[in-house]
Symmetry: C2
Amino acid sequence: MAEPLRIALAGLGTVGVGVIRLVEANAQLIARRAGRPIQITVVSARDRNKARGVDLSAYAWEDDMVILGERADVDVVVEMVGGSDGPALALARTTIEAGKALVTANKAMIAHHGLELAGKAEDQKVALKFEAAVAGGIPVIKALREGAAANEIERVYGILNGTCNFILSTMEDTGRDFADVLAEAQAKGFAEADPAFDVEGTDAAHKLSILAAIAFGAKIDFSSVDTAGITRLRAADIAQASALGYVIRLIGMAETEGGNGKTALFQRVQPHLVPVDHPLAHVDGATNAVVAEGNFSGRLLFQGAGAGDGPTASAVVADLIDIARGEVGPAFSMPVGELEALGPAATGHRQSRAYVRFMVADRPGVLAEITAALRDAGVSIESLIQKGRSGDAVMVAMVTHEGPESAISKALELLEGSESLTEPPLVLQILGE
Amino acid sequence: MAEPLRIALAGLGTVGVGVIRLVEANAQLIARRAGRPIQITVVSARDRNKARGVDLSAYAWEDDMVILGERADVDVVVEMVGGSDGPALALARTTIEAGKALVTANKAMIAHHGLELAGKAEDQKVALKFEAAVAGGIPVIKALREGAAANEIERVYGILNGTCNFILSTMEDTGRDFADVLAEAQAKGFAEADPAFDVEGTDAAHKLSILAAIAFGAKIDFSSVDTAGITRLRAADIAQASALGYVIRLIGMAETEGGNGKTALFQRVQPHLVPVDHPLAHVDGATNAVVAEGNFSGRLLFQGAGAGDGPTASAVVADLIDIARGEVGPAFSMPVGELEALGPAATGHRQSRAYVRFMVADRPGVLAEITAALRDAGVSIESLIQKGRSGDAVMVAMVTHEGPESAISKALELLEGSESLTEPPLVLQILGE
């Protein structure tokens, strides 16, 4: 059997330890599949003495993780440190500059610095891989980069954040409100102590920008992702959606659009109403799912655990097996120099149906004021429900007929500053076919 | 840009023509992703003059397809001829022996001769790829071979035949009987004139044996797949299942089982009752779906179009892009010499719940006879429904408590030859977690 592939592992949190467990537990199988053993030679983390429930005595220890890639006994560095910049980025740069391959689960770093790192990796002719950065254990980067590579991808979308999906499906099952379910998720370890990255949509936006780059051969553009989280959703929104035949899911969606020979990139993370007969409506708990629509393949769906040490380690080691097999093509499916710089697409002309919810003062004339604004903006209402009460406010929820997003924006502008509204209106798109 | 990858295409049926269409329509994109153009140089089929709706004038024509691989202007032969033996196999052999790569969608040939061809390909250091052979456009071979490669796969199962799934979901939606729906499917082109390969489960068994080999690192053993089709299902079975909270799907399932240091391979294709809250219960029409359960990844689900010229071409060209990129590892994820020869697993001890349906004469004492046989065999009944009439016969359907399959077999033995039964009983497993 060939020489082992020698791994340096930086970061020994839950996921880093998961990688150790996997490499040890499945060592024989991995060697058969990879054609050579995959061996961790050295590890590094901030605190050498922390109890981690795993025996590290077989591995060398390096205090300064940034120099891991410069060691002679290392072929690949696995970066499990996290954070878009700081030590993770320093480690990634020194590793690649030292001519070693880098495997990472770090979506924030790839979303912000993926092009720079991929360019450096091309120069050095080493692999940069990040399967674990998107959708946990689901091999969706590979699916887009390779499995669906023959297709022009028309749209890629999915459920990219397990914490949000856990919260939404729990709200759905229990009728409880967001804050309440979030607190439970934090207590159970399904949500971080600082949940903003997840519940504000940032984490899903990181992942979406990576998927979009690969799917469309575009330069990553995280900063243009139109991002909204799930914090404003109420139990009543979910009940309302359910009565209309929908569930609510945080969907990240990207597509390109043409016009005048200029292609633009649409990227949005937002809670959507998902029809109950859509496959994504059945994605519950911390599960992730990604749909890619190819011009020849049709709709492909990939589903599985979106986070957790086991699934993440599965994706990391899949990357290592690829590297052991010598499969080390461009990180974003094509060389960085060939990725197109696509501007962000305008959204006003996008046609869709939408759910619009107002919290209004409970007094005469409010409904007339709202419906007049919608009429004046050209928004056509399919169904309207005035129901519920939250403190002094009454909820008015509606589903619009298909129309341009700009019409709804205009209606909301007309209502801006109205004393009838007790909080800004909430607009959710309805996921179409 | 590097030299083009030059393709010979053998077989110009719907799917072969689909490959031409895709390679032409997405040529630029494919070249960007593959790092070099993919160019069809020569084509071959039985009849040169047949109208195919596609312009072949840019391609050379070869009358004798078997020598395509020997041509100097060919790097890869794409075999779209079909059939486990005959010209397809002759072409595959001569191609690989000539030191050229082979891409095929031919599940029958791979199920029967895959090991021989993979061994030859290893000797010649050329690629043998067959993504399109299983589950159409879904990149599930790649998912198992690479994406989930870090895992010990505990079970792989799914909906592997689009024709059967179309028939079953149409029976479900319309309440119509098998023969009636099959006739419609044939008229619409969703089922072959000779549907036996599909509806008897053979096609799904071909695919399952290929998935099992890759998932478990085992030598392909198509002949040991325990195979039943959907021809005996009645509308009443589907209605009964529905009343109990299930749909019926033709499931191919494989897993390994240990014991005394000897691993055995379980492979079965059979209609199953699938709980409505299982993801496979929502797979309708000609869609395919494959679930792989890894020891670290957890449950992964891959879903998409299981057949059709577009999806099949998508998978074929994905293989070509892999080859163009130089990614040409072992066809079954590890070298043929390392695949284990696993004997077929015994099934009697398998624990499950089952649906058992009898068609019986409408006269006193029949139910007592059946329930006595079940009792004597140790089968415990969870629920029993006697209902419906088909000609002179009455249907008795039941769901058993979890128990060994051998107990049900024994009960059926006790009833063998009974004049109360108007046809042999039907036993369907219930898909468990």
